[in-house]
Amino acid sequence: MRPLLLFSAFCLVWEALVRASGVPAFILPGPLRVVAALANNASFLAENALVTLVEIVLGMLVGVSLGCLAALALSASRGARAWLLPLVVASQAIPIFAIAPLLVLWLGFGLASKVAAAALVIFFPVASVFYDGLARTERGWLDLAQVMNAKPAAILWRIRLPAALPALASGLRMAAAVAPIGAIIGEWVGAAAGLGFVMLQANAQMQTDLMFAALLVLATFAVLFYRLVDRLALRLAPWQPPTQSTV
């Protein structure tokens, strides 16, 4: 309720400022104008929103899978740690803006390059947080497993992995928050569809109200997506709820 009130108040002040200052609509359209643009371009926005949504969801699937695999490989063998850890760190150190044009060059203007960009920004938080969780298993459980004569593979699979699920849940939340960024950057660098593409086009054509409308759709999507992943993450480790919810 509180966010809704805050948002309404924000819109009221925004509309009042736009009317009082007489700033031209191509610089800053009022919220009413944005809503009108949203209504007038509803089907056009919906088509492009669907494209971005698919990119985000697929990027999430690919990024989370690779992140989990990397974390498991890192914690399973010392050799893998020596080879993989620098790669994991490098994946975060290289800015996505620098890589995105290459991705478009290699993977084309279509879906693949956007999924790759989203997966790339998702990979690191998932891999690092999950690996951290796998490496910090409570000593007592490991001792108990040792006295019970468990093999290392069984300890990884039945103790360290489930014990790291709360960490993975945090990784998923972080991933959900950055996933839209990856997809939009991919679209900005080169695309023929998607909300990022719409924003870029609208901006170039001074259709600022349409740009704001696309932004509004994207923001709504991002929040809903985060909340969905948050719910799923909670079910992953119901015994340890997150300490705070950001959205």
């Binding site: 409570e138 007592g140 459980w141 001792d143 108990l144 497993a145 040792q146 006295v147 019970m148 004569n149 468990a150 093999k151 069984a154 300890i155 039945r158 103790i159 489930p162 014990a163 699920l165 480790a237 119901p238 015994w239 340890q240």
Partner: protein, 245 residues
């Protein structure tokens, strides 16, 4: 045969010249003692003296620089014949109670009889909590589940590290009774800081004190009159208070 008891009889244990040091501090050095087959021995001592470390040494969880010979009296290996119950219940929050009790078999990938799990949980009074998750249990219930998990291992030697320390008096009393009854015939070494618990449960009570720590002569509380037990408890408390000071 009752599902909860078993034919596993405890073997004797011989510890010779055990030594553990952390950094420069020697916890104990040249420590030797024996446990009678099938006996219940309680190890008393002030906190930080090395009781848990001694238990971990026997369980094979000692720090790398620990030394000493630990042999089973029947000449067999120790590995695979020891069960360990820690201070905390160590229940896995992602498994239900039945899953926790069967943890050892799951970890070894060996088959187990679900009926045995049910029987053990009924024996510890958790027959209606089979499918409950650990975070819904009380402290006493959690410790009961941990006891069932320890019994499920069905090992001849059972090491218990202050398993009832955090419980209220009544729950502790009931669990002590339960443990005595269900562990009968096995060789048990129980670490505690409570003289009354030691006198109630132990066939033999031994005090670990000093630095490096040494073991006092065993006290055998079985068959003592209530007055003698009370006097023994006083003596033990005095002894512990003196070493802790």
């Amino acid at each position: 045969m009752d599902q909860t008891s078993s034919a596993v009889a405890g073997f004797g244990l011989h510890v010779r010249q055990a030594r553990v040091a952390f950094g420069g501090a020697v916890l104990f050095d040249d420590l030797s003692f024996d446990l009678e087959p099938g006996s219940f021995t309680c190890l008393l001592g002030p906190s930080g003296i090395g009781k848990s470390t001694l238990l971990r040494l026997i369980a094979g969880l000692a720090p790398e620089d620990a030394r000493g010979q630990i042999r089973a009296g029947d000449g067999g290996p120790l590995a695979g014949r020891v069960a360990w119950m820690a201070q905390t219940d160590l229940l896995c929050p992602w498994l239900d109670v039945a899953g926790n009790v069967a943890l050892g078999a799951r970890l070894r990938g060996t088959a187990y009889a679900p009926a045995h799990v049910t029987a053990l949980l009924e024996a510890v009074g958790l027959g209606d909590k089979m499918r409950a998750m650990p975070n819904t249990l009380s402290g006493g219930q959690r410790q009961r589940a941990a006891l069932a998990r320890t019994l499920m291992e069905d090992r001849p030697l059972v090491l218990m590290d202050e398993p009832f320390g955090a419980l209220d008096a009544i729950t502790r009393w009931r669990l002590q009774e339960l443990a005595l009854q269900l562990l009968k015939g096995r060789t048990v070494l129980l670490v505690t800081h409570d003289p009354r618990e030691a006198l109630r449960m132990g066939d033999a009570v031994r005090v670990l004190a000093g630095r490096p720590a040494t073991l006092g002569a065993p006290l055998h509380p079985r068959g003592l009159s209530p007055n003698e037990l009370l006097a023994a408890e006083h003596r033990l408390l005095d002894e512990l208070a003196a070493t802790a000071a």
